[in-house]
């Protein structure tokens, strides 16, 4: 075991340590806070690079790359519960991505949050987030992963509600936490189930881990009472956690609202890293999710992966269609993120770890780029979020525009030059060969069309045409100090990260082309081979061709609707709305899912709590009251019995005795004459009696 494996824990500890120190700082120590956070990320990134280099070296030599370090945490019963960390290509890739994107966003935040009074607290939360996220990446125990996962959720909650004085931000944070918690509870249940079945939560433990061969065989062999294999049951429960975190249908509702947070937060947490944690979880648990019994046909996917695929495919199209009708620049990107996460899930389901993870990595770069570009736009436009009140920024913010365009083309999957094309194509290609159904492939293709369309719409609204700022009504907040100031380019501390990310978004595509599928080989710990033959295999070219056509179609449609003529002002109808007002309305309201939940789940919840209080008051409390009244009634009865029966007869008895006494007491009046009289009478009587008796 090498030094870096033994000290892998240092990578997440650096930011956590920085967070701890920052928490103790005063509000004024802004430079120190930013310095600590960025410094810790630089250290983490360097250590991650060391780890990555080691993985490269090992996989280049074709050696088994998985290295684990386990340690005991606490003792329960006769055994110790152990935690640990693992260094394998999956973790290494995730570490690099999180540390690199995180570092860039930290730097960007220095500029973006420069005027915020809670600057230090922002960096405290952000560092804590980065630490927990790096922890998710290296965890070798489902429990450790869950712990980091929950802390990630906490920081997400804290950062969405960072501007806590806004009620909408506070509500959005709460909604995010609770919606993801629904998934997390299922995850928890899956975890305890897995633990009780296998007796360990370590992923890899020299053959005894819970997702290693022997444990999987045992899990697949058992069947639950409802007919599912135990592995399927556990897999689905754990997937629920991923659905919550990664904003998949039906738990996607929190992610668009999470845009209430500062834009760097949206870029880091709600686009690049945290939301991808769900995808990472599925990737990490892939051996379990894909475990099948020996008798099943090798080509049929497992139930779990089928569910993953369908959920992903549906989410991809569902969210992309909503993005068409949004006006808030960040909400468009949020729905786009949901949609792309759907692609990743689909990629995992149909193509395996490498396919899903490649899209995760490329997406992290270009989506972080897009969000930071959006942040730059918002910053330049003085907190304006509505794309329809922007316009003409192409000339005013050239760097932002150029980088944003790169991100947009990467997201759309513009052929050859952009990373998104290669990663999306790998997913579509895998979907086209999926044995269960072709529908996910068609859904994915429709998603590509929609993505190209809504991104074109957004770019035209934001960067082209004339500024529509002046025509707008005075916006709600920050209006006083803004006035009619013209938008301006953001400072270098914000634009340099944009340029770096834009470059990465282009270059990353090179590591996953069919000709040189380096990423795929790396994840699978094989040496990568370079061969142009890759393009001609298994119908890859037709898929590329079709997706290219679809992308161009989407871009052209976008141009047809928004680029051709003059864009109307913010109050006029959207071009699509003019064509199909009803459909547009449904899309704008995100298929009314939120309202549906309000009318059903939330109302039911409120009703439940009322019922519980009512039961407390009337049933349980009522029973107690009833008992009280019974006891009271009994005592009243007792008292009346006492008063009217016992006491009265007692009184009567007493009275008779008294009366008798009074009568008798007359005899003892103490007067000698009466005593003598009685003695005399008695004497006379006695004499008479004796005489009477003698005669008889």
């Amino acid at each position: 075991m090498t030094w870096i494996v033994r000290h892998l824990w240092l990578i997440p500890s650096m930011p956590v340590l920085a967070a701890g120190l920052t928490a103790l700082l005063r509000q004024r120590s802004r430079k120190l806070a930013a310095g600590l956070a960025i410094g810790s990320m630089v250290l983490s990134l360097s250590l991650s690079l060391v780890a990555f280099a080691q993985m490269l070296e090992l996989s280049g030599r074709g050696i088994e790359t998985k290295q684990v370090f386990n340690f005991p945490w606490f003792q329960v019963g006769s055994e110790w519960l152990r935690l640990g960390w693992v260094l394998d290509p999956l973790a290494a890739v995730m570490l690099i991505m999180v540390a690199f994107v995180g570092l860039l966003i930290f730097i960007y935040s220095v500029g973006y949050m420069a005027h915020d009074e809670n600057f230090t607290r922002f960096f405290c939360f952000l560092s804590l987030f980065a630490g927990a996220m790096l922890g998710v990446a290296i965890a070798n125990s489902l429990l450790l992963l869950f712990i980091c996962w929950e802390i990630v959720g906490l920081t997400s909650y804290l950062l969405i509600g960072f501007w806590y004085h806004k009620p909408s931000a506070a509500a959005a944070g709460k909604k995010a936490f609770i919606t993801t918690r629904i998934g997390d509870l299922a995850f928890l249940l899956g975890m305890v189930w897995l633990y009780s079945e296998t007796g360990t939560l370590l992923f890899y433990d020299g053959g005894a881990g819970c997702i290693e061969h022997s444990a999987l065989i045992a899990l697949v062999a058992q069947t639950t009472s409802i007919g599912l294999a135990v592995s399927t049951g556990i897999g689905l429960l754990i997937f629920c956690g991923a659905v919550g975190k990664s904003g998949q249908v039906p738990l996607h509702v929190w992610l668009p609202d999470a845009m209430e947070g500062p834009t760097p937060v949206s870029a880091l947490i709600h686009a690049a890293t945290m939301v991808a944690a769900g995808v990472f979880l599925v990737a990490r648990m892939f051996p379990l999710m894909s475990a099948r019994s020996g008798i099943a046909l090798p080509l049929t996917p497992t139930t779990t992966l089928t569910v993953v695929t369908w959920v992903g495919a549906i989410t991809a199209v569902f969210a992309a269609s909503i993005a068409i009708a949004q006006d808030d620049i960040k909400r468009i990107l949020a729905y786009s993120t949901v949609s792309q996460l759907g692609y990743m899930m689909m990629g995992l389901g149909v193509g395996g770890v490498a396919v899903g993870m490649f899209h995760l990595i490329t997406h992290a770069f270009f989506k972080a780029l897009l969000f930071m570009g959006a942040g730059s736009v918002i910053h330049g436009c003085h907190e304006e979020h509505n794309v329809r009140r922007m316009g003409g920024l192409r000339k005013l913010m050239p760097i932002t525009f150029a980088t944003y365009a790169v991100g947009m083309l990467a997201l759309c999957g513009f052929p050859f030059f952009f990373s998104g094309f290669w990663s999306k194509d790998a997913i579509l290609h895998a979907a086209s060969t999926w044995s269960v159904s072709k529908t996910p492939f068609y859904l994915g293709s429709i998603g590509v069309l929609l993505t190209a369309f809504y991104m074109t719409r957004q770019v035209y609204y934001v960067f082209f045409g004339k500024s529509r700022k002046g025509e707008a009504v005075v916006d709600t907040h920050h209006s006083a100090d803004v006035g009619a100031a013209t938008p301006r380019e953001s400072p270098a501390v914000m634009t340099i990260p944009l340029v770096i990310l834009a470059t990465s978004s282009i270059l990353l595509g090179l590591i996953g082309t069919p000709a040189w599928p380096w990423f795929d080989s790396f994840i699978n710990s094989e040496p990568a081979k370079f061969a142009f033959r890759g393009f001609t295999e298994d119908g890859i070219l037709p898929i590329m061709l079709s997706s290219t056509i679809i992308v161009f179609l989407g871009l052209a449609l976008g141009w047809w609707f928004y680029g051709r003529g003059q864009i109307g002002d913010a109050e006029s109808q959207d071009a699509v709305e003019r064509l199909q007002p009803q459909i547009f309305n449904v899309l704008r309201n995100a298929y009314f899912v939120d309202r549906f939940y309000e009318a059903t789940v939330i109302r039911f919840n409120t009703w439940c709590s009322r019922v519980c209080v009512w039961m407390d008051q009337w049933i349980w409390g009522g029973a107690v009251k009833l008992t009280t009244y019974l006891v009271l009634g009994l005592s009243i009865f007792d008292r009346s019995l006492d008063t009217y029966v016992v006491n009265r007869s007692f009184d009567q008895g007493c009275k008779s005795v008294t009366r008798g006494g009074q009568i008798l007491s007359r005899l003892q009046s103490g007067r000698t004459q009466s005593y003598l009289r009685i003695v005399g009478i008695a004497f006379a009587a006695l004499v008479l009696f004796l005489i009477w008796g003698r005669r008889g």
Partner: protein, 518 residues
Amino acid sequence: MNTLPLITTLTAVPLIGAFAILGVNSQNKKLPRNAALIFSFIALALTLIVWHRFNSSTGDLQFEELHTWIPALGVQYHVGIDGLGLLMLLLAAIVVPMSIAASWQIQENASLYFSLILFLQTGLIGTFTALNFFHWFIFWELSLIPAFFLIRLWGGPQRASAATQFFVYTMVGSIALLLAFLAIFQCTGVFDFISLTDLARNGQLIPSLAGKLGWHTLGPQQITMIIFCCASLGFVVKVPLIPFHTWLPSAYAEAPTGTTILLTGAMSKMGVYGFLRILFPIFFVEMRSARTLLLWLAVATIVLSAYAALAQKDLKRIFAYSSINHLGYCMLGMISVAGFHGESAAFSADKAAALNGVMLQMFNHGLTAATLFWFVALLEKRTGGLRGLNDFGGLRKVAPVFCGLMGIALFSSLGLPGLNGFIGEFLIFRGAFPLATWATALALLGLLATAIVILTILQRVFSGPLNERWQNFPDLTIGERLALLPPIALMFVLGIYPQLVLGVINSTALKIVQQMRY
């Protein structure tokens, strides 16, 4: 043992303190609280010594003291602790200083107030250490009576009815318990818990009960069952389990907050403790028969109380219901263990996990709930008694430290990993899931509702625009920060290094699992 009888000394310290403070002139406001704090710290120090000397590798009783008391009645003075007892002693020793600190403002009749608190502590220590029913019951009642007066004399506006309800309710339970043990004594002539456990283990308990108490057509099992029901009533009320919980919200809400800390932090553990110490070893057969019923009652307790908390508007009532909810998890874990699984190693591992979780949860809940109520006390001090959910808003702006620290305590109550609440709940769920699958799955609803409750508090009290009324809300003072530091630090320590507590209780949990094999 010719060393100092530590347990007796520990029991005596607060008692001496209580009598000493009682003698203080009632005009003197400061002396009673200072003296009470000092005595509670002495008790804490003694408890730490006990902890230090405790041998955690065995689940057997330690620090035992056994003296004949009333030979004619089989009454002995018998005290001793195992891991569970030690844990409860630690909890009581931690919670009492917190309660005294949170009662710092009490002016009216301060000497009586603080001496009652120390009486209560004696009752708690006695209950957690006594091994003979006779003096165990005296201590059990001794903790009840001071609590009644604390609520009755220093409570809120509804204190009269709350105190009466609390007293009568608990008293009914206690009397049932007393009757049950008198019946047992009549048949066996034994008051000692350990001897009774041995009798039960040998299978002599049921025949001897039936022999003396044969009544009409009731078989031996039914008679024992009736006695078990009477005995468990006392504990079930104390825990409390729905539907015997209605005394709790009003008692917690009306009691002075310093007293609520004691009620929730330490006294609420007496019920679960009684189950583990008395009912489990003596009535294991009956526990098994009643298992299904008790299990679903526990689930109902978890879910219903969490939902009831959701509809409350008073912070103290919210935390009161949440307290019921948290002890519901203890009941769930404990009762799931009661089933019979023989020697099966897998189930033994599950049971050990569940029992460890239950004990850890008892300690964690005591710590967290006491801290939360302390924060409520601080809030009341600043607002003149206001503590409604909707009375505040945006406090983070004016009192960031207060909100930050209370936020930590709230998240600990929610069961966030990294803080103390999580490991206990995780172990309970881990242990209970294979033993009682559907009940455990359903209990997750309680976790969800608790999360909603906690986040609603964070949203309404701390976030949103600042309520103009609290423009000058003072943040925590340096003294308050220092006072709150130990419990908050403990939350982190136990969240990151739970072995600190689990190391103490694991052997005891294993021993109980061993006993359940029969």
